[in-house]
Point group: C2
Chain length 109, copies 2
DNA sequence: TTATAATATTGCAATATTACGATTAATAAA
DNA sequence: TTTATTAATCGTAATATTGCAATATTATAA
């Protein structure tokens, strides 16, 4: 099939999966790292930094934007990207809680 | 195309992406939560708990196993799954470090 | 040995993702 | 206005993922 049966899972499970998908491609990881590295908004030299075509980068940016993890502000002919701090925090909280499940767990094997 | 160009990214970027993929499907999130919830090894009643076919669950388990996040111990005709604590810790460390990049970041917008 | 039970594997269909050339849209500069 | 510059969108090809029926495998029970 290829169609995820979202309806049989809880909202939290779907949210975790959707957010994890953002990081499930090295290009998107690299894009986010670049934005953080700049320690400010980055005015789209991402295509030069990462070795992918402009259309491809634009597509990855769109996905990150649609998840709300980054924002794009138009500055003349270029676009400046930055992290959406609130959304990033919420994402971190959700995923960290999921990761920390092991703290309640008995080491059985 | 559809082929991720792993070679143009760093090892860390690829590792983050590969691990994130484990959580990028709600069924795998649900499986991991079930294993944690049992607070021990869980002997494959996952198919009943989650509403997917046996073959599908088996496939998701295989992916989690191949990443090393879970282990399967054969007990008679059934298999008991549990979290690989060391691998889980390492995963947590890598992804948490990635998520905490925002701590060094100036809130610019 | 012959069932029975539990899980893995295979094969396939359908959908999703990745990548990029070409085009379009919008702004800035000449 | 014309010409760059920059980024988004469209269209398309290739690969990946998801899901399941059918089958195979493995170990126990009869």
């Amino acid at each position: 099939m290829g169609l995820t049966k979202s309806e049989i899972f809880t909202d939290t499970q779907n949210q975790i999966a959707t957010l994890a998908k953002a990081f499930a491609h090295p290009a998107r990881v690299a894009i986010l790292q670049q934005i953080f590295k700049a320690n400010a908004c980055i005015c789209g030299d991402l295509v030069d930094e990462i070795g992918l075509a402009q259309a491809t980068i634009s597509q990855h940016l769109k996905e990150l934007k649609s998840l709300g993890l980054i924002r794009g502000k138009i500055e003349g002919t270029s676009v400046c990207y930055c992290i959406n701090q609130e959304k990033w925090s919420k994402m971190k909280q959700l995923l960290t809680a999921f990761f920390n499940q092991d703290l309640n767990n008995i080491n059985c094997c």
